[in-house]
């Protein structure tokens, strides 16, 4: 069953009054529980695709549907609420808030829910435990290694039990050992917790961790 459905997706930018077409009628589906790696050269539209699925950007034409909800038709306010409940997003550069501890960073999505402080504590503790950072809860991002920061970012992405986890080059700034740890964690989230994962990467080794591999070139799926 398709969790993410992209129908006749068109996305065009205008840069220096020059139109740039990223997607022109793209059709694509991601099944629930899938772990897909999306590869392709720079400018192929990988990150734009993630942004469109996450509702961070709007398509020029076509529809984006996630778990039955038409993301591309939502108002900005509704999109923010939807994102909080359904999307976990992981960035290449971790993007933890530097003034918050690992615990507080992970707690951020839960502040948007009606959970009590005790319930939030429980959820954060679970997420940190899953990524193996229970003992680093009170550390600020600058006190963590790159791998630990990315694991904290993954904990932030999974803490609200989202419908889909989107990762944009999650191992791009990590050493081999840390990258392997993160990829193993993603595999575990997919296999053990049945999370649907879509990962954009340049790294063929990272892509091997996924169960499905797609190539995108100039907005077109090539394999």
């Amino acid at each position: 069953m398709a969790l993410v459905e992209l129908e006749n997706l068109t996305k065009a930018f205008s840069r220096d009054s020059q139109p740039i077409v990223v997607f022109d009628g793209l059709n694509l589906e991601f099944a629930e529980g899938s772990f897909t790696a999306l590869m392709g050269p720079s400018g192929s539209g990988k990150s734009t695709l993630l942004n469109l699925i996450a509702g961070l950007d709007r398509p020029t034409a076509g529809t984006v549907r996630v778990a039955g909800a038409e993301v591309s038709a939502m108002s900005p306010g509704a999109l923010a609420d939807w994102r909080a409940r359904h999307v976990g997003f992981v960035f290449q550069s971790y993007n933890l808030l530097p003034v918050l501890t690992a615990y507080q960073n992970v707690e951020l999505p839960l502040l948007l829910t009606r959970l009590s402080a005790a319930e939030r504590r429980e959820h954060v503790a679970t997420a940190l435990s899953v990524v193996g950072l229970s003992d680093r809860a009170e550390h600020l991002p600058r006190q963590l290694s790159g791998g630990q920061e990315q694991r904290a970012a993954i904990a932030r992405a999974i803490v609200s039990d989202p419908t889909i986890i989107l990762l944009d080059e999650p191992t791009g700034q990590l050493d081999a050992k840390s990258a392997a740890d993160v990829l193993a964690l993603l595999q575990r989230l997919n296999a053990e917790f049945h999370k649907t994962i879509l990962m954009v990467t340049h790294d063929p080794h990272a892509a091997q961790a996924a169960r499905t591999l797609l190539h995108l070139d100039k907005g077109v799926l090539t394999a």
Partner: protein, 381 residues
């Protein structure tokens, strides 16, 4: 409340900057409240005075003396119960900056006319009346100079030139702002002795039998002396005090203008600081939007930061002005008796605080709310 840690973390991100901005706001509000209090105190000063007392002064100007013979004629006017007189003495103590109000008075009649407006032991009153070089001082003035009862104090005359050694024979507490605790009373006779051909009463203070007859009494007095070489101007004590306030000219406008200019200058500082802070965090705004923080929530969080800085500044600035001036018994050497920050000024200060918070936070808050997540995430410092 659950967002408080986030707001607090952002406020304490650059502790020095936040502290300096807060102190700027505090200083602005302190100055505003203090300058505004000059205005309110001046206005209040113009409103003190008894309904049963009237002041007779020269119709030409307050600086012109009135003949001593007027006393008996004033007492003869129907409705006048008692009469006393006083002069502005205008001396300084040790240094010109140690200036305070001094009046040369007829002790017994003057203290009788103002009975009920001050509190002083009877023996001290008697000692003052008895000794021509004696004086009495307000408790506030005594404390300010560290004087004590029986101490010899030498005043240097600025109007009545020369050194004037006097002995403190009494210390009074004010029961009404009209009888200022920052003042000293000396004997009129002491001055008269040295300048017998020059000095005369500066003004007369009348005690009325019936305050309702004040207009008639004033008209009768001014009519009595209308064709003399020293015509009079008679009015209520309140009007007399108010005339001193008008001598300050348009100081109220000046004080208000300076106060608002200071607030506006600090508003620019606070707004600049908030803009800088928000610009530094553009990428984080993108992250929060990605997590699911809505535009309104982000707007509210930035406004909360601006509100936090303004509120802390208000507590410090308005609090300091409210506590400091009464604590040091400030009265501008008696010219601003009862100087304090009024509830009205505090309310105005709080209103300015709200305006300051809104004005300094609005642009960065709108900017954070309107920015798209993708644009924000692309932002590089």
């Amino acid at each position: 409340m659950k967002f408080f840690p986030l707001v607090w973390a952002n406020l304490t991100r650059h502790k020095r900057r936040t502290a300096l901005t807060t102190l700027s706001v505090a200083l602005a509000l302190f100055l505003f409240a203090s300058l505004r209090s000059v205005v309110t105190t001046l206005r209040a000063t113009g409103e003190v005075g008894s309904e049963t007392r009237m002041i007779v002064q020269s119709a030409k100007a307050i600086v012109f003396f009135l003949p001593m013979s007027y006393r008996e004629r004033l007492l003869a006017v129907p409705g006048v119960q008692a009469a006393s007189w006083a002069n502005w003495f205008g001396g300084v103590y040790q240094d010109p900056k140690n200036f305070f109000a001094q009046f040369a008075v007829d002790p017994e009649s003057y203290l009788d006319v103002y009975a009920g407006d001050y509190d002083m032991p009877a023996d001290q009153r008697a000692a003052f009346i008895r000794e021509r070089t004696g004086c009495i001082v307000g408790k506030s003035l005594l404390d300010k100079f560290g004087w004590h009862l029986g101490q010899n104090v030498t005043l240097t005359g600025t109007i009545f030139e020369g050194d004037w050694p006097v002995t403190i024979r009494g210390v009074f507490r004010s029961l009404d702002p009209v009888f200022s605790e920052d003042a000293m009373l000396v004997h009129y006779d002491m001055v008269y002795e040295r300048y017998p051909t020059w000095v005369r009463p500066g003004w007369y203070v009348l005690q009325l039998k019936n305050p309702a007859l004040a207009p008639q009494v004033a008209a009768a007095i001014d009519s009595e002396f209308k064709n003399s070489s020293d015509p009079t101007k008679t009015g209520s004590e309140r009007a007399f005090n108010a005339s001193f306030v008008t001598m300050w000219g348009n100081v109220s406008f000046l004080m208000d203008s300076i106060g608002m200019a200071v607030v506006f200058a600090i508003l620019l500082v606070a707004a600049n600081s908030m803009m800088l802070s928000a610009r530094e965090r553009t990428n984080e705004v993108g992250v929060l939007k990605t997590v699911g923080f809505g535009d309104r929530l982000l707007f509210g969080l930035v406004m909360a930061e601006a509100g936090g800085i303004a509120a802390a500044g208000a507590v410090l600035g308005l609090g300091a002005a409210t506590v400091l001036w009464p604590a040091i018994h400030f009265s501008a050497m008696g010219f601003l008796p009862g100087f304090r920050v009024t509830p009205g000024t505090l309310a105005l200060g709080l209103g300015i605080t709200v305006l300051l918070a809104v004005a300094s936070g609005l642009l960065p808050a709108l900017s954070a709310a309107r920015l798209s997540a993708v644009q924000a995430l692309r932002h590089v410092e």
